[in-house]
Symmetry: D2
Subunit: 384 residues, 4 copies
Amino acid sequence: MQPIRMGMIGGGEGAFIGAVHRHAAGLDGHYQLVCGAFSRDEQNNARTGKTLNVEPSRCYADWQSMLQEEAQRPLEERMQVVVIVTPNHLHVPISQAAIKAGFHVFCEKPAGVNFAEVKALQDTIHASGVLYGLAHTYLGYPMVWQARHMVTTGMLGTIRKVFVEYPQGWLSGEEESHNKQAQWRTDPAISGATGAMGDIGTHAFGLVEFVLDDAVTALSGELYTHVEGRRLDDDGAALIKTRNGATGVLVASQVCAGEENALKIRVYGDKGGLEWRQMEPNSVVYRPVNAPSQVYRAGQGQAGLCEQASSRCRTPSGHPEGYLEAMANLYRDFANAIRANQKGKAQGVPGINAGLRGMVFIDAMLASSGSDTKWESVSAEGTQ
Amino acid sequence: MQPIRMGMIGGGEGAFIGAVHRHAAGLDGHYQLVCGAFSRDEQNNARTGKTLNVEPSRCYADWQSMLQEEAQRPLEERMQVVVIVTPNHLHVPISQAAIKAGFHVFCEKPAGVNFAEVKALQDTIHASGVLYGLAHTYLGYPMVWQARHMVTTGMLGTIRKVFVEYPQGWLSGEEESHNKQAQWRTDPAISGATGAMGDIGTHAFGLVEFVLDDAVTALSGELYTHVEGRRLDDDGAALIKTRNGATGVLVASQVCAGEENALKIRVYGDKGGLEWRQMEPNSVVYRPVNAPSQVYRAGQGQAGLCEQASSRCRTPSGHPEGYLEAMANLYRDFANAIRANQKGKAQGVPGINAGLRGMVFIDAMLASSGSDTKWESVSAEGTQ
Amino acid sequence: MQPIRMGMIGGGEGAFIGAVHRHAAGLDGHYQLVCGAFSRDEQNNARTGKTLNVEPSRCYADWQSMLQEEAQRPLEERMQVVVIVTPNHLHVPISQAAIKAGFHVFCEKPAGVNFAEVKALQDTIHASGVLYGLAHTYLGYPMVWQARHMVTTGMLGTIRKVFVEYPQGWLSGEEESHNKQAQWRTDPAISGATGAMGDIGTHAFGLVEFVLDDAVTALSGELYTHVEGRRLDDDGAALIKTRNGATGVLVASQVCAGEENALKIRVYGDKGGLEWRQMEPNSVVYRPVNAPSQVYRAGQGQAGLCEQASSRCRTPSGHPEGYLEAMANLYRDFANAIRANQKGKAQGVPGINAGLRGMVFIDAMLASSGSDTKWESVSAEGTQ
Amino acid sequence: MQPIRMGMIGGGEGAFIGAVHRHAAGLDGHYQLVCGAFSRDEQNNARTGKTLNVEPSRCYADWQSMLQEEAQRPLEERMQVVVIVTPNHLHVPISQAAIKAGFHVFCEKPAGVNFAEVKALQDTIHASGVLYGLAHTYLGYPMVWQARHMVTTGMLGTIRKVFVEYPQGWLSGEEESHNKQAQWRTDPAISGATGAMGDIGTHAFGLVEFVLDDAVTALSGELYTHVEGRRLDDDGAALIKTRNGATGVLVASQVCAGEENALKIRVYGDKGGLEWRQMEPNSVVYRPVNAPSQVYRAGQGQAGLCEQASSRCRTPSGHPEGYLEAMANLYRDFANAIRANQKGKAQGVPGINAGLRGMVFIDAMLASSGSDTKWESVSAEGTQ
């Protein structure tokens, strides 16, 4: 099979997430990077292109010229998919332009910075013939699929409770001038109207809806800003309710000093519970009522794994796979979808609906925080 | 030293918590059980007394006669402390009578079934010359003291966040007729106005206030009842705020299928975080900002332990001590307090204030649950 | 029931293991300490007796007079069982004298300091009408019984491999003059011919034979002494073979810097494996072939537990029990055996055979260490 | 930078390790697969080439023709490095031919099937101008480098003990006809003279020498075969001694039912100990004497990490990296070495010496197993 021709916007030297996308795209050999607009800084852009073996003529000064010029190349050599790894405020403008130019889009999350622009993007996607994928990386983990399988096949019975938490500690201190990440992620003009809740709370929210195959319908939450001078929330929590009747708690914080990236979900039904942790992603603990708990483990062909989980493993059990492999699973499914001429949403890859869900979650959190009213409803936009 | 003469009300055959108290009192040899009113069932009462080597003449038919008759015995042989391990609704009536008769009281939690009666009991205690201890067992764990030490000596900096959770699974199913525990714990006439929140939520609440040396001032919570026909809550959660400015989440549930007794607290300040779990109580994980996390371990004379923690260990590190030892620590401190002629509250042992805090917490939870208003304030009653 | 009248030899102020025995005996209320010869130091002896509420007239200056005088007391008040917690070299002399005087003996391990004296003690016990118990504390853990149950009922299939290890770190440094424990444990005149291997290697060895219900028949090992000036081994390891055809490895060391008391056993058969760790003693991990691993948990009435394990728990699951409870299980079984008029060996409590097995193990290790010949056979003495 | 042109011998459909190498080579984008002799089966070979986007003209029928024809291609398009992922007995013949033809070699371990052929290969490499890399994948883990750093910079003091173990369970049962892996790995004609010990024992051995920066000089071991009809060992253990005076134990087994791939190393010196586990490879536990243990964590720029570890991480801490990333680290270092015109051994990548060490280890194990003599010396061949 010929690799799929990929272009990248953002991801110049010093950018964390661009490199992650390239690793993930490279892991299975389905993609070839053929062009990029890696940085507004001309030198950075050129150096990045050179390092990545992109022809100088296809290292574009800005994303506009990249989309325009690539669209004019012969079909057999032009970029097929554009990967967007810019700061958040550019996600929608670039996605819109790319889709209109006929390119598939694989976008770092969030889909955009507000509901309106993401809703409009949804319309564009629906009207187009291209694929749109959103890098909700954690939904690429095999054992997240296993957890969803356990819930949806009734191993837990009727779901009563869900607890999801995403504590990080890296924003515990004052923003340091040299931490580029910290700077833009706490700048409302770039990140959107929330900080931690938009950045990682949306992952927690998406994980709940995916694992439960359910929709959050209401929440009661608060956002907090702990570090002096910071302009966006760095911490928050909410009580939540779902359409199917589960209740629970969602926590997302970037001031949990000493925590790394401790996303965790626990689900309890009347027949059993389960637990998955991102920091040791290759296990799901299953706790049936009145029997010893069981540890389901990732691995090709591993006993007890559903097909959806097993097929997302590249090695037999005991060979840990991690974050890059999770994202690579999204890239692999996206490549398969392109080759299969799927439209709109790639099977196995979060799409624009996931992006819309993130927006309605953020809006509900912003509405709830500081309000005297306890419960805020969460729009059904984006649910199936 | 002569052992302290102890009487017990409740704790007949088949009662879980009575045996726990006897084990805990026996561990260090400070007590001798001299009398009891173990059960309203005459045969059970007699058999229990015989098993425990209590003279038949001091196995009383009811607690009233026990208090009355013991009070008339010569000082050198009469009961000194009465241990109350009855269902909740009798805690205050017996405590009141015992204190008025001049006995020290060591009472299983909760202190009572509503604020008013516990407040009245507080007055009685303050007016008396006796000691009142409340079995908030988890506050007897050495590493809970270590956690408090870490917070109060500034190892975590300014406290921002606290997460406490107490998931159990044993009430996931329909009440079974043979489970005596499950029956009375979900009967409002016996347990008081809450179920899970009163039974174990109060432990979580007390742990927060103890470890933080702070007071919860407001909460926003919900109580739920998941099992059909159950008359009290079996699950709930709340957002919380403290006097010193921390915020957080409290969860208590008895329908987390497959969970045993997974009380856990995490605290985060601007300099570091900590975590303690009841299920592996001999460790506190300390997570300083920008340095490897550290595992502090229980054990006599163990490196890094504060005196309060070290003195609560009976063995060198690596010899696990558990729940019975935690309660035994309360009994040991209570014995020391009796011998030292302390009054009102025994050093190291939760007293009536802890009981009162539990009542204000329950009242706030009941007020908040189902209310449209987001935040409910928590009375300062019982705080220092 | 009347408590059993217990005397103690050794265990004065500053002695670790004496206090452990008293805690363990006290936990269930089956014993009353009525006499002692706690220390050769007169003042220490008196102070200890006073603290423990032993009548001054029954605080004896030495063990000889204690045995002699107690034997002359009226039957209804005289000591019934003597607990021996002296340094090792006195275990047999005191046991011999006590048995001949008609007292039951509960002895801290090891049974003695060489094979000959323990063999002779076995003869004495067999000829007597009393009970002899040996404090192989780890064999009192419920989940050790569960592990044995899993092996003997075939859950693992035919046993192939066993790995047992007991790393400690407390003798990593030079003996410090103030550490009384470290001093006598490394003095051949008091401890016997081995250090670490006798002290803790015997625990590891006994655990293998108990869990496998099998006998070690050969070993190939080495003993090492790492700290300059130390007179006994502080570390060693051996390959082992059992009667039933399993092979494995045994490690015992007191110079594994940073380790606490990390006794662990793993067993593998053709159908599955298991693992138990003393540092978290309330779990056994069971790993069936081709199925998720399972975590069996301690706790009264817990799903999947055998009767032998369940009956050794005092609380429902989730209330950690530990080292003191393990020893208390031996004391409880010993009390039951006294009351049931058992003879020689108390059901559930390691007896003189366990002591003899320790001796043959030490002898084989000493013979193997430094030898050019690979395999040393282990005598069958003490096996069933 | 232009990618390095890579060819692959072996790795057709159904081969586990070939895909692993391709994932690892793809992760960082340093390689382009330009040719292959993937399978002796013509159809498999063609299909594999097509899937991997290799030109049909460069899908060779056998490795001989591949080496020959590639050597005749123009320098700017010919293969630069050949990856060997065939069964073991072909490793040396192919390596020899490839080196003589001027290609760099990256070979799956073991280097060969006996000492003589690997020694001869060493001579060839030394006489050549090319690079030879050996896929001791576990030496690519960042935290293995961290462990070595801790040892070599004295954080543990003088090293006394090392325990390494590598239990797997996948060969617990009869060989199943459909498991190709199991078949050839237990066939002496293909695998060499040992089974488990050659397959995974060499990993354990290499890990010891790497982390300790020391050489094993003697061992006393046994090999076992547990499954009827199996022709090679499936299990074994050895006591070991090192040049610098450490002693320890090495275990490798493929019949530890229920174990996945549980490679683990623990090292103890007079100042502290450390532990690393392949199943959770992103942590090293450091246990200083007389202080709380510390958990060092992988992650770019993570506190406390040495440069060697930190530079081998692609993401900040909390984003688990695993087995594929470990091998990718070897590939990245190998690419850097090619570009830097290094000769013989690529910095950071195990070379022919590591291969030779594996052979002397296997020879010593074979000599020791079944021998009556206790200690067998391990040749110094391959040590620095």
